[in-house]
Symmetry: C2
């Protein structure tokens, strides 16, 4: 999946909702039909379908219709998108820590041996 | 930071915007004033301040005003909130993989030695 900003916007936006996070959690245990996914929620089907479509559009799930049943499957690569972003952030801090360590080390060296 | 759904909504919602992600990236290199943070963006200050307030409200940054300068600092614990959620998702899949392995192993055992 692309790492360009719009894709990241959608990937994170999809997670900013408890129903969508719960759907992803359920799909972590295996594929399920829209009916099975909707069952635990006290929500009209059209509203629920909006969440399904948002998860599909943002790349979190794939759906496939066979007859009258639409089956949803988790697209785990989206987790990689988030983890890539998180590790990029950590690199920024680590770079900062490295510079700080070099500074402390250099300062210490300039003080000469004790 | 609390793990209840509303907090997670806000933490993820805050990341669904390229300006806010860029601010967090910049703050990863150290604290900065709102003026320094706003400089790279072609954006009116009131619009920029909305992003700053959103990041503060959602727990991503702390801000402190000294005289006329407001300084922003990254709140790294918010990354833990995301990582906790990610690792919970992974546990769900791993549980599924474990069950699958047990099933395969059991099936194999029942077939008896070759």
């Amino acid at each position: 999946m692309a790492q360009h900003p719009k894709a990241l916007d959608d990937v994170f936006q999809a997670l900013a909702d408890p129903t969508r996070r719960a759907i992803l959690g359920r799909l972590g245990t295996g594929s399920a039909s829209v009916g099975e996914l909707a069952a635990p929620f006290d929500m009209a089907l059209p509203s629920f379908m909006k969440h399904i479509r948002y998860l599909e559009k943002s790349g979190w799930i794939r759906t496939r219709k066979t007859g009258r049943v639409r089956t949803c499957t988790l697209e785990k690569t989206s987790f990689n998108v988030i983890e890539t972003w998180l590790s990029a952030q950590r690199s920024i801090w680590d770079g900062r820590t490295d510079r700080l360590e070099r500074f402390v080390s250099t300062t210490h060296d300039q003080e000469g041996p004790e």
